[in-house]
Amino acid sequence: MNVPAPLRGAPLGAVLGAALALLALGTAFPWYIGLALALGSVAVATWIRAQFTDGRRELGVVLVLAALVVLASRAAATAGPILLGGIASLAFLLWLADDPHEVPGGVRRAAPSVLVAAFVVGVGWASALLLPSRNAVVGIAAGLFVFAIVVLAVFFGRPDLLDRSRPETPKAERG
């Protein structure tokens, strides 16, 4: 079924809005200001992205990033907001992938990249809150350590990603 372009980004816009709204409820802002900030920024950003096809559409990205920074800086340092912060950030990546002006199926194609980020956040969160030390710094360090291992594994598996030398034969170039 063909969905009109402006409506195509709406479902994941709603997911991102919901994630940001939940994060906003755990901040020091009054609930109505937090919700307005979360839902308003996502709604305007989704509209901007659907409306423009040139560089102006990046204003929508800036708007959501600004809302993320503001909400994250006022969030309480407890298990719930930490998890919701990570989820909101991942929802933002999925929202980026569901671009109405691109070929449909962006979320499916972006899944490997987003899963790597989700894995790192998950390991970090679990390390921060489930280990006996219950230290966030340990969690972040664990997440980055896992990410470094994933990167190394990928590069060992696909050394061609780092290969910038010219192919020896035209056949190799055709690849």
Partner: protein, 431 residues
């Protein structure tokens, strides 16, 4: 044919990636400053995502070929094609970077649709005036679905020529040009031969093939008779484009030159289809000519010469144009001069040509509409300026009419005035 120098194959970060990295860094700094782990956990995916998408990209060098074409009617220009790649699963992640010519209006990014062996794309542009524009060979990049990283590809791509000529230029093919060679003066030339329209019957020769024998007439006459056919020999025309700078300024000159190039290509195609011989010459400081010839190859030669014309920086003297024209084209050939006649120096070329025996018809694109579109004025001032400009233009056209007929071309989407004029051979003749 191919895109020339080999493109860089490394990963290129988009502005969006830098935005994410910037926001991730700010969040980490906020986390450190406020001793708040939430900001760090929000920032972590933003910092990881650009590296993660780079890992999922195609290995360098990857290859993607582009086949594209332009169609559409009147002002609509629809450029569509397909990006083909060996890695079909990557097809929907390929992006086309195109430098859109200034004469064409519309978005720089196309509409994409998945295809079995790549991606289909369509640009919907408009051309407010007739134009002949070259869209340079595009660049194809792989772009991740998040829009954070790009990797250029190698492959075969060609530049694309977008032509929008006035549609009624094709009617010029019905104009019967008069051949001036080898006899002096204008003579209608035709040839009796094996092809063309029926002309008459004559006694058959032993060399006549059976298909030329008129069997019914032979039966009636009691001796073998053969058909004769008459074929009009081609006429000759030289299309002369004056690219010298005028007082109108670079912007108006360029716009008029673009419109003139489109008209000339349309006119050349119409005459070539009618089997006429067409020559082309552009005059800037010197004359650049394509000698008379016919056929498809001549169309390509003229197209390349027309596309190579630019507004001159140094104007050559008018007499040089007429003298140089004599080196390529014998006197007596009809010359269709395309010139704005905005300056006396540009108008001077007409008497020089007529003095050297060239019957000249001037097609003069009017700068009035272009100027008023470029320089917005109050309605009152606009009316006054338009009146003054019209008087000035009529005066310059009247001066040129003393030497050659002039077609004032103000509606760029039709050449009806020129067609009407050329269809009356008596009016074409110059004393």
């Amino acid at each position: 044919m191919s895109s020339g120098p080999r493109p860089p194959t490394g990963i290129r970060w988009t502005p969006r990636a830098w935005l994410l990295l910037g926001a991730g860094t700010v969040l980490l700094l906020v986390a450190i400053a406020l001793r708040d782990p939430v900001a760090a956990f929000v920032g972590l995916p933003l910092l990881i995502a650009p590296i993660a998408v780079a890992m999922t990209g195609p290995p360098p060098p990857f290859r993607a070929d582009v086949a594209w074409s332009a169609d559409g009617a009147e002002t609509e220009v629809r450029v569509s094609g397909r990006i083909r790649t060996a890695a079909a699963s990557r097809g929907s992640e390929l992006r086309l970077l195109v430098h859109r010519p200034g004469e064409l209006l519309g978005p720089d990014t196309p509409e994409y649709a998945p295809a079995p062996d790549g991606t289909d794309f369509t640009f919907r542009w408009t051309s407010p005036w007739p134009t002949v524009s070259v869209v340079p060979a595009p660049t194809v990049v792989w772009q991740d679905p998040l829009g954070l990283a790009q990797r250029p590809s190698a492959g075969d791509r060609e530049s694309l020529v977008v032509e929008r000529s006035p549609p009624d230029a094709m009617r010029l093919g019905t104009v019967r040009l008069e051949r001036t060679l080898p006899l002096p003066g204008e003579t209608r030339s035709h040839r009796i031969g094996p092809s063309g329209e029926f002309f008459g019957i004559r006694d058959a020769q032993p060399t006549d093939p059976p298909r030329r024998i008129n069997w019914l007439a032979s039966a009636r006459a009691g001796r073998p008779l053969a058909n004769e056919y008459e074929l009009d020999r081609t006429g000759d025309v030289v299309l002369l484009l004056d690219t010298r700078p005028t007082r109108l300024g670079a912007i108006v000159d360029e716009r008029l030159l673009g419109v003139s190039r489109a008209a000339l290509l349309g006119v050349a195609e119409a005459f070539l289809r009618a089997k006429d011989r067409v020559g082309f010459a552009a005059f800037d400081e010197f004359l650049h000519a394509v000698p008379l010839a016919g056929g498809r190859h001549q169309r390509i030669r003229i197209q390349q010469a027309v596309l190579a014309t630019r507004r001159a920086t140094l104007p050559g003297p008018s007499e040089r144009c007429a003298v140089s024209l004599g080196r390529y084209f014998p006197p007596g050939i009809t010359v269709l001069l395309v010139s704005s006649l905005a300056d006396e120096s540009t108008a001077e070329v007409v008497p020089h040509l007529t003095r050297r025996g060239y019957p000249v018809v001037v097609l003069s694109p009017s700068p009035l509409g272009v100027e008023s579109a470029l320089i917005p004025l109050d309605p009152e001032d606009d009316r006054l300026a338009a009146r003054i400009d019209r008087i000035d233009r009529r005066s310059s056209i009247a001066k040129t009419w003393m030497y050659a007929p002039v077609v004032d071309w103000d509606d760029f989407w039709t050449l009806a005035g020129l067609v009407r004029f050329l269809q009356q051979p008596r009016r074409r003749r110059v004393a």
